[in-house]
Symmetry: C2
Subunit: 320 residues, 2 copies
């Protein structure tokens, strides 16, 4: 049976750090593409355990390597680089976050939950395989995230406490007190309209918690101090909410071709959304304000925070 | 939002160790009852985070606190005690193993998988709640197991490496290379009969891996040496298989009242089982031999291994 492997570092520590020179002409599109490629390579290497993958591994790879924006792992790397961290060292945490995000998509798409047919521009996992395989592929990606983190950490005793904190943050954000509770509340909201406060709280759990953990884990792995951690938290909370408000807006006026999934589904399911509660114009103004707050939280950082700043703007103005 | 809590140790280290005097008149039934009670109390305390539990927590508690034999956590404690370990220190690992076992039962029982209506003498989680809640309650128990281990370990830096190894063993045993792969193979076996070698391999993954991890984690937390670890492994492999052979036998001739679930289901589903491949009498002889092997593996240990020995015999002669 294959075991978890991890890519060796191909470059010295220097090469994995961002310099201010790199950022003078900051090009977000190129940055996102470069980071996504690095993450995709690492994820592919983790799953490349057999020449002829069995059905379970096929389903895990199908969902995990289907593209996607890779926002969470990129946030993790960008937060580390903001305080001069070594992004190679942070890469396992970044991959774990994407594996957990993907597992949550597989399970949320199931017929018993959101019953979605398309995801990331291809049939959802249970459509391409079957329900049982999709449930187990999700379970396996969740478990593999923790296995990968633990097996890397076991070989780095001097970093053991740091990795344990990463496991703690990610599991807390992904679990009962975070993402899973958010999905429960989201499903319940199809039966009963939410107030604005309830909607915010639901999103903070469902999407916000893992986004906050992404930023936090990157920062912690890079040796963040207690003042900085508060700035990162404020940034992450604001972009987490901005991400969701924008998602709701895109569900109203997005292009399903570009998004790789259906639009108008929130209204069909009678879901409480920001556009439904605030109207479309005010939702956009709210999302803008959140991005402003996120940018303000980064005021004390230098040019190395440019990727985080650009991601905040991108989250609001993306079209998928 | 509630966070994970952990029971403080109520007694000094001495009180958590087994003495040879305790074992002169070894009474397995009382031992199992005592340990199960301790585990049940610890599990209840972990989930007792709110006076009015929400629906997700209700479903998690419903499945986790429904009884069950608690064989995995008891094996974990008994392995530690065999080499003079402090069972209070091992208790979190024991609880994590039971949480993961329970999550696997919830998911395996789903309509898309084994589609079972009864479990541990009560309706399965998706029958008592609904499918979506059952999927999420399983996800949440799996995630909580790792969260609990990490948050305990974060506060014990001197034990960080030990806890990371525990997380690694458990996630490896529960994941793609272990239990989840076993469930995939088990489902596939309904379509296509297995050979004896394939059947053994499937069970080693589906049930054996987590049983082996239970014994191993208990032993490692207690500071096992490399000679001893091999004995523990041989013991665990043999009881793991004996457990499954006995399960198959009970599915033929067990009492559904006592077992709290239906019997005869393997034949209905055309599953390859030991009785189907070897016949009932030879299956029993095989299970007996496995228990003999398990007992022989413990020869070098003193009376403190009595619980492990008695559990090996019990696994073969249980009626549920």
């Amino acid at each position: 049976m294959p075991t978890v492997r991890w890519l060796p570092s191909h470059s010295g520590p220097k090469a994995n750090r961002v310099t201010n020179d790199d950022l003078k002409m900051f090009d977000l599109k190129a940055y996102l593409a470069r980071k996504a490629q690095r993450i995709n390579q690492a994820l592919a290497a983790i799953l490349k355990t057999a020449d002829e993958p069995d059905r379970l591994l096929q389903a895990m790879s199908y969902a995990l390597l289907a593209g996607g924006k890779r926002i969470r792992p990129i946030l993790c790397l960008a937060a580390a680089e903001t305080i001069d961290g070594d992004s190679q060292e942070v890469l396992p945490a970044a991959c774990a976050l994407e594996m957990i995000h993907t597992y949550s998509l597989i399970h949320d798409d199931l017929p018993a939950m959101d019953d979605d047919d398309m995801r990331r521009g291809q049939p959802t996992c249970h459509k391409a395989f079957d329900e049982a395989t999709a449930i187990l592929a999700g379970d396996a990606l969740l478990t593999l995230a923790f296995q990968m983190l633990a097996s890397i950490a076991v070989n780095k005793p001097e970093q053991a406490s740091k990795w344990l904190r990463v496991i703690e943050h990610i599991s807390h954000a992904a679990g009962y007190c975070g993402m899973i509770q958010g999905q429960m509340l989201d499903m319940a909201s199809e039966q009963k309209p939410l107030t604005l406060a309830e909607l915010k709280s639901m999103h903070r759990l469902k999407t916000g918690a893992l986004i906050e953990a992404s930023v936090r884990c990157g920062a912690e792995m890079a040796g963040v101090n207690s003042d900085q951690i508060q700035m990162f938290e404020r940034y992450a909370q604001n972009i987490g909410l901005a991400f969701q408000v924008t998602d709701d807006i895109l569900n109203v006026e997005g292009d399903p071709e570009i998004m790789g999934k259906a639009v108008g589904t929130d209204e069909q399911r009678h879901k409480t959304t920001y556009p439904a509660l605030l109207g479309l114009a005010e939702s956009k103004a709210f999302a803008d304000q959140l991005v402003e707050n996120a940018l303000a939280a980064l005021d004390a950082f230098d040019q190395k925070a440019e990727p985080l700043r650009a991601i905040a703007r991108y989250i609001r103005h993306r079209n998928r």
